[in-house]
Symmetry: C2
Subunit: 405 residues, 2 copies
């Protein structure tokens, strides 16, 4: 077990960082065996500052879709760094990337680039309001759309007015959505929704195709924008957009995380109807024109498109899920595995406070498998069959250790 308050780095950090660490990567909040600080990454493996290596099933909480230090991406990054990054104006890679996004994403007629997922979701909401001249935005209860006052899950420092024009519905519940649409009346600007329900601290839930289609119809009838928050799922499930398999296209999509294999980038894509509104808002940032992350995105998306990376991620995820299910059964545990196999989550049945799941993840962590007890995991294209089997050898031991407790 690790005392997260008592390693050399965490002790130093507590002096100069509020709480020692902030945000979703605060290891103390989710693990007793996984370290706070990491020294390096290579493919699907990461190594901590004490030299312990882990099979990585968080992938930086999503961004690392091709594996750490993917050669194609690193090559593109090196080439762009040798030219320049933060220039006065964008580099040609910006135009190439916007073209590639428009070619790749089914609904996209245009693209804008930013740095954070929150930049993209905030811009989507602002564009929808600018386009419609309306104010109300509907959000699913419990959904995560970013970490600023209008959407953060923690309300310290948030005022009531920051959320004055938000209203809520239940994911996959058309009746509750319809009621919220009715409440908004002729002031409905947008509905923002994730491709599937991936809230923390609960089983994941795929989108009901009828819900998605009904949402599309309600938005069309109301003249409101359908915003798909594809920040977490994008470029891992379907390159054309995570609702493309459902046949439902958004008006606006927010992208980030996996778009550049870990380099800081976000994007908004939209339809022609919203092009003028998108050009009317002031969306900008000091590093939004920086070329290196765009070069990384070009390489990442092309690699995902031109290789069997997407299929391999699916196959690896399926192999992991099947293996974990068999192990749980063999050790006498009932587990619930939810979400797409590329973004899996495992919870022990009846483990409402996640205590047993935490213990199992701790046992896995101690055996070199990096898993999270209540936030979905991520596969990457660097996870091979052999890597999954390696991980499964270790999780089998973790189940056995839990059974002995």
């Amino acid at each position: 077990m690790i005392d997260h308050n008592d390693t050399a780095l965490t002790k130093r950090a507590r002096l100069v960082v509020p709480g020692g660490m902030y945000g979703h990567m605060n290891a103390r909040s989710f693990s007793a065996t996984l370290p706070q600080y990491m020294a390096s990454g290579d493919g699907c493996r990461i190594t901590d500052t004490d030299g312990n290596t882990y099979l990585d099933f968080m992938c930086g909480w999503g961004p690392v879709v091709l594996g750490h230090r993917n050669p194609a991406v690193q090559q593109a990054v090196s080439e762009q760094i040798a030219k320049g990054d933060c220039l006065n104006g964008a580099a040609p890679v910006m135009v190439e990337l916007a073209e590639l996004l428009v070619d790749t994403v089914a609904h996209a007629d245009w693209a804008m680039l930013a740095k954070n997922g929150t930049d993209a979701t905030t811009a989507c909401v602002t564009i929808a309001r600018a386009a419609t001249g309306r104010r109300k935005v509907l959000i699913a209860h419990g959904a995560y759309h970013g970490a600023v006052p209008w959407c953060t899950p923690v309300t310290a420092g948030v005022t009531r007015e920051d959320r004055a024009h938000l209203d809520y519905f239940e994911y996959n519940d058309l009746d509750s959505l319809r009621a919220a649409v009715d409440r908004a009346g002729d002031d409905l600007a947008a509905v923002i929704v994730c491709p599937f329900r991936h809230d923390v601290f609960r089983d994941q839930e795929l989108a009901d195709p009828l819900f998605a289609k009904g949402l599309r119809e309600l938005c069309d009838r109301a003249g409101a924008a359908l915003i798909l928050d594809d920040v977490r799922c994008g470029f891992r499930l379907d390159l054309a957009g995570s609702w493309e398999p459902l046949g439902v296209r958004p008006d606006l999509s927010a992208w980030s995380k996996a778009i550049a294999n870990g380099y800081a980038l976000a994007a908004v894509t939209g339809t022609d109807t919203l092009r003028e509104a998108a050009g009317s808002i002031y969306a900008t940032g000091s590093f939004w024109y920086s070329a290196v992350s765009m070069a990384a995105a070009l390489a990442t998306i092309r690699e995902l498109r031109d290789t069997d990376a997407m299929q391999r991620m699916f196959d690896s995820g399926q192999r992991l899920r099947d293996g974990l299910a068999a192990q749980a059964r063999a050790h006498g545990f009932e587990v619930v595995q939810t979400g797409p196999v590329q973004m899996p989550l495992l919870r022990f049945a009846g483990d409402d406070d996640f205590s047993q799941t935490r213990l199992w993840c701790d046992e896995a962590g101690a055996r070199g498998v990096y898993l999270h007890p209540y936030h979905n995991w991520f596969l990457s294209a660097a996870h091979t069959t052999a890597d999954i089997d390696d991980a499964l050898d270790r999780t089998d031991d973790a189940f056995a250790a839990l059974a002995r407790r």
Copy 2:
């Protein structure tokens, strides 16, 4: 003259980017001779996609403080890239950087890291509200603090409630500040202010030391946080903080731009009084723990601290200002030069619509000097005496061309 709607790249961009370009780097909005797209940068020179090279006095609108592709920064970046960037948890460079910020910035007892300047200003406001349990935030009329609904200068898509708890005062006017503090009453959370008045479309105005001291006293009396928005000035005027020469220390500072010589990074620093509140808000982002930009920041700040970079920036800025003043006189023009010499701005006297200033900047642009007609410029430590003299040869021609019109 360039037709910004008609170059190969801008024509392609107009198809896939709203308006062809967005935000502050939209070249069409400020220049008829400077191109939208840049191919490379080296020291204080940048080269466009047609091979034309410019002496760069915008430095990416601030970030590039040591010059493009500074060797010390590039070396640190290469070394960190070879280890990893976006890992599960931070790398040791995060602790080193937080320690360096606390050592370097006079008021800082702790630091948090983010990506955009807007992330930092938004976090400062949220921390102040969390700490005080109050809502009102005072802002100087015309000041720029970011590009999201609560602060963007363009109000498309912004609702009245996004700014419900903001009130305004005149920069350098203690009476107007005092009146705003009185209006906020016991609901005053913070006053946010820039180190000097650097609003676009007007002469720059240094902070009156009496205003800064009065502001500090008013905040102390009200129990409100003084937030210094050092995003634009930070790491260019005084490493300890841009109000350190005035003897006025903020409670919270927002940093970005020059902190990592162009790599995407922002920071909040604060005093111990606000440490707990800072730990209570949910401030996070997918790339906020990424190691490469932190390694770049360590190298940048050390280079600024351990060499004569700050003095050289000042000297180069002074040489440029003196040279431009002499040239204007010689050509029969009256110009107004304002702001610190490291962040200069030149306007022709009486040129209220900036039309003459634009023409002169266009002439300079056509001669390979990258200047902006209504946004402050930036010097870097890569600008040598010879570079300034080279630039002055060209601006002399620009004045002469303007005199011939």
